[in-house]
């Protein structure tokens, strides 16, 4: 039974009204981290570090000078974000196990707002996989059913939020690594537009695909957190033209395209839940297909592997056995791609963007399931759905990579459960830099589908 704990938004209100303190929130999170230790969602949580931050936040609130509405709220950090007080390992033996003494920009922003940097969450090694089955601290377990995976690579963050250890956590997303565990664990996850959120201090997987983003228990929570992600950062050139979070637009009509067809298959169970969810919206929803999915997937995979291999090249020459065997195989494949392969992939990337943004009839959000299947069982290496049989790894990224290849803002929201009680999520993709518009559409859908207020 999962605790019906507060959302981050409810914690903001409770702190403002004096109904709780940062100390009490930190103590609650520490107790729950211990109670849910079997999930293996954390690499490290240091009680003294947590309580020192909480006590400082409590003092600020007692003196009537909180740094922000989230001052004193515990936030968990995926273990590929640099953090001042904790080492950053990427859950790999190939990572340097020392603290660099620096915060990633997003962590720095949250710390400046008084958020309690709670601990570092378990992840798929180097974010280079979507199951969280490969980690040097062991697998992460799904709070809804320990026999099932959390998905990844931000699986520890997903489990920690779903279990109520923390109300919010940070993830990073290169092919779905925020959305996948959000869907599998029944929480909300947001991947900003490429170039809208600083990647500085987040260990890279693929420079042109990566995005940092929040995972939380409501879309209102995501709205609270996005200002700490969005905006220009001199330390990340991709954000040079990024606009800060601009607030949500008012209610508008929106046209949604429900994508399906070859290459976008899903299980009957997932399809039924998504169709039922969409039947409850007043938005205009039309169906459409997207051709040549296999070609675009090859482009995403080529870009992913070549960029990852370039980043890791020096380390793999020195410490190849520090990587898990599968991660090393990915990196070795990337080394063997040719320059022409990569340029073709970039040509296909441009074509996908033209197809989605110019050729397709005008849309405000694209809709897909986040995952084609509910969270798979541990040790289940293959998934069958819609006439396809694919590896569990490929089933996790089945839809999500599209958002990274196109650089679109994306989110996952829970919309139902499987017959076994596992969460099923729906993914929305918005227009480039339309992060606020996408969140506004999602909030309306959340009200209509889930009755969220």
């Amino acid at each position: 039974m999962l605790p019906e704990n507060e959302t981050l938004s409810e914690m903001v209100a409770a702190l403002a009204e004096g109904n709780c303190t940062p100390n009490s929130l930190a103590e609650q999170s520490l107790a729950r981290a211990e109670a849910f230790a079997d999930l293996n969602s954390f690499v490290v949580v240091d009680e003294s570090i947590v309580m020192a931050q909480a006590e400082a936040a409590t003092s600020r609130r007692e003196e009537g000078r909180p740094l922000s509405p989230i001052d004193g709220i515990p936030v968990a950090i995926k273990d590929n974000y640099l953090t001042r007080e904790y080492p950053t390992t990427a859950c790999s033996d190939a990572a340097p196990l020392v603290s660099p003494g620096e915060d990633a920009t997003v962590v720095s922003n949250l710390r400046a707002a008084g958020a309690v940097i709670f601990g570092k969450t378990n992840m798929h090694e180097w974010a280079y996989g979507a199951t969280n089955a490969t980690s040097n601290v062991g697998v992460t377990r799904n709070p809804h059913d320990r026999e099932h995976i959390t998905g990844g690579s931000s699986g520890g963050s997903g489990a920690a939020v779903a279990a109520g250890i923390v109300s919010a956590a940070l993830g990073s997303d290169t092919g779905g690594s925020i959305r996948i565990p959000s869907s599998a664990c029944g929480v909300y996850g947001f991947k900003p537009s490429y170039g809208r959120a600083s990647r500085h201090g987040v260990l890279p997987l693929s420079w042109s695909l990566d995005a940092p983003g929040p995972m939380a228990r409501s879309l209102r929570d995501i709205e609270h957190l996005l200002p700490y992600f969005l905006g220009p950062d001199p330390k990340d050139a991709s954000t040079s033209r990024a606009k800060p979070f601009g607030g949500l637009p008012g209610p508008t009509r929106a046209k949604l395209i429900n994508l399906s067809g070859p290459g976008l298959e899903r299980s009957n169970e997932v399809d039924a839940v998504i169709n039922d969810a969409l039947s409850r919206t007043t938005y205009n929803v039309v169906r459409s297909s997207l051709d040549n999915i296999d070609q675009y997937f090859a482009a995403w995979e080529a870009i992913l592997h070549c960029e990852a291999s370039a980043y890791h090249h020096g380390r793999i020459l020195e410490d190849a056995i520090g990587y898990s065997p599968v991660t090393r195989a990915h990196l070795e494949a990337g080394i063997r791609l040719t320059a022409m392969d990569v340029m073709k992939a970039q040509q296909l990337r441009a074509r996908l963007l033209a197809c989605l943004l110019s050729d397709m009839p005008q849309w405000d959000a694209l809709v897909l399931p986040t995952l084609p299947v509910p969270a798979p069982a541990h040790g289940d290496d293959w998934q069958e759905f819609g006439g396809r049989k694919v590896t569990t790894q490929d089933s996790m990224t089945w839809f999500c990579w599209l958002g990274n290849l196109a650089g679109l803002p994306c989110l996952s929201m829970p919309v139902g459960k499987s017959t076994k009680g596992l969460p099923i999520g729906m993914m929305l993709m918005g227009r480039p830099n339309g992060d606020e518009a996408l969140l506004a559409i999602a909030k309306t859908l959340d009200e209509q589908i889930n009755g969220a207020s």
Binding site: S240, Q295, A299, A320, A333, R336, L337, K344, Q347, R351
Partner: protein, 49 residues
């Protein structure tokens, strides 16, 4: 292939490359299709500490 790779790793590498190159080769890419590269000189013009 590196000598220290296992047979399983070699198979994974070959399968990955085959899948990527098959997908890319099916694409009807025109010679003049510009890649989605990003080159923004102004973005590099920032104050360094």
């Amino acid at each position: 292939m590196s000598d220290d790779l296992t047979e399983d790793q070699k198979k994974r590498i070959e399968a990955t490359l085959k899948r990527i190159q098959a997908g890319l080769s099916r694409a009807d890419i025109k010679q003049l299709d510009e890649p989605a590269h990003i080159f923004d000189p102004e973005a590099q013009s920032v104050a360094r500490k």
